[in-house]
């Protein structure tokens, strides 16, 4: 655009010089034409400029770290008219790591649309926010420009590497020899059961009629089941991107392993900034992805407080908790 403006000024200077040095009326005509022409250009370019629209096209949802994906930018005109020049400023920011990249894409014409492809930076886990910061459209001469509306930002989740699901027997296999029993919700048959007085609301079928007749009071047979150990995966949401990548790789592998083993588990970390401990329950891939969206959408500082130094606690969980702290080197301990 600057070049076009400079070119126009030079042309105007040439027209002025022609006007001064050539005495005939034609030089005056050319000077007036040179002064008027940019406005004429603006007038005939306005339909094309105003009809210009920009849309983003990013891979839906999530991509794996290190995969070669591209995001698309499409510039099209509602009325199929070309524009002199269009300049789109794009930025791609990894919300978690804070890495930002900006790029400017330019084009001209575009009556049948213009497509730009940009490679996504999937080198680190995180949530990539791919947005258009500014769209400028020029008239056919490239002198005047107007801004156009920017589309909504697109988000792409960069997932950890698809490592094989880790063996989680160490977390699940060591059950207590003397498990703590707890009433089974909904009752049902079972070897272990407990007897207790009837409470309003107990189903009639759970009443032990034989015993109740003997004690002249309603006695309920409550089936028991062993209380399972809660599995807790913890990690630290701070540090360099490479460190976080390895920790997330492991967390993802372990979590998928537990999901495959149909073992719901908790994931816990200290939220940067507020320093609150956040806990999420994961029982399927959907919940894992939702967790990853939440984690990767949080800016991770270089330093922070490790959850390793904090005592294990999960709200609403009374029983034993088996914990695995994810580290980049995979030396997280289970306890």
């Amino acid at each position: 655009m600057a070049r076009c403006r400079i070119g126009y000024l030079m042309a105007l200077a040439a027209a002025g010089l022609f006007f001064v040095s050539f005495s005939d009326w034609f030089s005056f005509y050319i000077l007036v034409l040179a002064l008027v022409f940019p406005f004429f250009s603006l007038a005939v370019s306005l339909p094309g400029m105003l009809g210009c629209r920009v849309s983003l096209d990013a891979p839906g949802g999530a991509v794996r770290r290190g995969s070669g994906h591209e995001a698309g930018l499409r510039v099209e005109n509602r009325w199929g008219l070309p524009v002199g020049r269009v300049a789109v400023d794009l930025s791609c920011r990894n919300v978690m790591t804070g890495q930002t990249g900006t790029v400017r894409r330019k084009g001209a014409g575009g009556s049948l649309g213009m497509d730009f492809r940009e490679p996504l930076d999937t080198s680190h886990c995180g949530c990539l926010r791919w947005e258009v910061r500014r769209v400028r459209v020029c008239d056919l001469l490239g002198i005047f420009s107007i801004r156009r509306a920017v589309p909504q930002a697109a988000r792409v989740l960069v997932l950890p590497l698809n490592l094989p699901a880790e063996g989680v027997k160490g977390l699940m296999g060591m059950e207590d020899k003397n498990p703590v029993m707890k009433p089974r919700p909904g009752g049902g048959p079972g070897e272990d059961y407990d007897l207790r007085p009837y409470r309003p609301g107990d189903p009639l079928r759970s009443v032990h009629w034989k015993l109740s007749s003997k004690v002249d009071d309603l006695v309920v047979r409550e089936t028991l089941e062993p209380r399972k150990t809660a599995i807790l995966l913890t990690f630290d949401l701070y540090g360099p991107a490479e460190v976080l990548d390895r920790a997330f790789d492991r967390l993802d592998a372990v979590s998928r392993g537990l999901i495959e083993a149909e073992r719901g588990h908790y994931v816990q970390w200290i939220q940067p900034g507020t320093l609150e401990v956040r806990t999420r329950y994961v029982s399927d891939i959907k919940e894992l992805r939702a967790l990853q969206w939440e984690m990767f959408s949080t800016p991770a500082p270089m330093e922070g407080r490790s959850l390793r130094d904090v005592g294990v606690h999960i709200d609403g969980v009374d029983g034993p908790i088996r914990r695995l702290h994810m580290t980049p080197t995979g030396e997280g301990e289970a306890r």
């Binding site: 076009c4 005495s23 009325w79 070309p82 001209a108 014409g109 575009g110």
Partner: protein, 803 residues
Amino acid sequence: MNHVNYEKLGVQRRSVVLLADGLMLFLGVYGSIFCLVTAFQLPVDGGKLTLTCLAAAAAALIVFSVPRLGVRLLLVLAALAALAGVVVWEYGQLRVGALVCARQVVATFGWSLGTSAELDISAWVGTLSFLREVQTSTLLCQVFAGAMGLWLGWLFVRVRSFWLTFWGSFPLLLVPLSVTITPAWTPLLLLVLFWGMGVLTRLPNKRDPYGAAKTTLCVLPLAAALLAGLMVLLPGEGYQRSDQIERLRLQLTDWVTMAGREMVSGDGNLGLGGGSTEVDLTKAGPLNYDGSTALRVEADTTGHIYLRGLSAAVYTGEGWEQLPDEAYEELKSGWMRQEMNLDALTSSQFQPDAARYVDVPVPGIGDYQPINFPALADRSTHPQVNAKRYIIENLAGSTAVVYTPYQLLTTPERMTGAEFIGDAYLARGTGVWKHVLYARDEANPLSGAVLTGEDAEAEQNYRLFVREHYLQVPEDLQETLGSLLAESGIGGTVRSQEEPIHISEFDKGTIYYGSSLTVRVNITAEERLELARQVAQFLAGLTEYDPDTPLTPAGEDFVSYFLTESCRGYCMHYASAAALMLRTLGVPARYVSGYVADTVAGERVDVPDYNAHAWVEVYCDGYGWQSVEVTPGFNGDFPWERDPDETAPPSPSASATPTPDPSPTPSAPQPTHSANQPGKAKADWSWLWWLTVPAALLLLAVALVLRRKLAARSRGRRFADEDANRAVIEMYVYMERLLAFAPGRKADERAEELAKKAKFSQHILTGEEREFVRAQTEKLARETDLSQKWYQRLVLRYLYGLY
């Protein structure tokens, strides 16, 4: 980033691009060719040439639109071969046509430049009838149009570069414009339209040729309307430029001319090629000339004349400088002069308190110009003698001065394009390179010419100014010059007392200069000129004329080194030395530079650069400045220098009554010319109507295509309405229109039912229902189209825009 290449477009879009390109090519070829034709008034058959331009544009479009490189190259070669074939086959005709066109071009150039230049082609082709001229020049222009079509076709259609296209066609317009010839408006505006559309579609043209083509087709009528509208709003009749713009133009022309001259001026032209009014003697090295013409002189007299450029008063040792402006202000308005209190000094009674010097007011000379004094003196003494006219054009002389003949009669109020700068020179006016001057060439101080009346009073005051400023010699040079002159015996100088007594006693005519010289000041003009001759002879004997004299070493006084060390030099050395020696002798003198010319009455002569020269002017009381030649080998032709027996040059016939000063013709700048200059052959312009018919048809075609496109787009938008009910209603309305042209057909029943439901019920149609109605609409449109005859289809498509 991807962009739509031409080859990737579909057939329909490609045809749009072809249409736009063809239109633009025609504008470019027609505009270029006819700008030349109308500017130089070439005798052509306009109709044939227009068709040729059309054919050339079409051919170029086809050739350069072929996608395959091999085929394209073959077509280009075939086209070039065809052109070459035409040239070879019709060489005789083309030769005649070229001569006819050349004759017209030369005549137009000559007319524009104010000359009578003509090219007589009868020696080559004999006498040609007008018809033959038209035939041959038309053929030449047709070949040129073909070549132009190929050239622009390649630049615009293939390379798709606006700037290359512009620069490829602009020179054709530049040729007539360079001599202020404007072509006819129609081709000129078409060419401007071509460039205007080209620059508008410049940015998208390469990457989006389809978009650029659409823009061209849509905007072209608007741009044409803009150009026509400007013509209406800015009428050409009665157009007059403001004086400021005209002055700016002259200044610009001046600056360009001076810059150009400075670039090409040689080293040995006595510093006269530049714009300085001072003489730099440090650059006086070996002379170097290239023989180019410095001045062009047309005079009413025959003889050897001196054309003075500028004179300088102040010698610095390294050059000659002008007097300060304050000195000339005083000369004009008056000044106070210090004189010896002679009354006190010569009184018989001793007056110890009397002042040695007293201030005496001297009236100024007002508007009198000392350069005019000799002519005024001669006119008052010989009123029957007519002045001679001189036309002097400065081609490569100093850009700051006007070169004038001696005894200049033209006074400031009659001078145009020049300004008197004190008594030194005439400064050239901006943009004026030619001057008409009047001078009394026969005037001389020995003819008894004297000023009278007010002229004489002014001269007497000026005389005092001269004595104050034109007797100055640097102190460190006085001893050298005094010794030389004393040894020379010039003017009978004798040694006097030792004590340096500086007494100025004009009445007694004696002045003491230093301790070795006594000279007389108050001497007659004849005596002064005799002293000048003696000084010249002395210098000729002392030194040697050498045009290859090297530069004076740095730090050395120019004149002193010449007289005492090198003893060789050329006119600059002799003039400088003589002026200072004459001043030492008490003769007011000054350095002058200019040119010498040998004129022939009534003829124009070119004065080459090697005629640059320097000489001396000596002041003669009661007369004015008189030039003196002091360089050995240069013989002047002044009356006082001729032998008494030598026949004087023929004098002009005297008129019975004194001829008043003729009004000098102002040397105004050359007028510019419009396209309405008289031409040799008057071409027939009635063929212009040929252009309007195809243009109108083309515009109509474009309008119809656009109408169809817009209708389809509007229809598509309505059918894609977010409100499904409204969209279906629109579809049904469209079906009704189609059925009007397909009698016997009916709309699909379900589609009709759905349309009624959309119109009258609350039900919102589903997507499926909408698509069904759309499919039925398209089916009906196809069937209706196919059922029509070809002309009916065209009408329905392009006039009604139905599909």
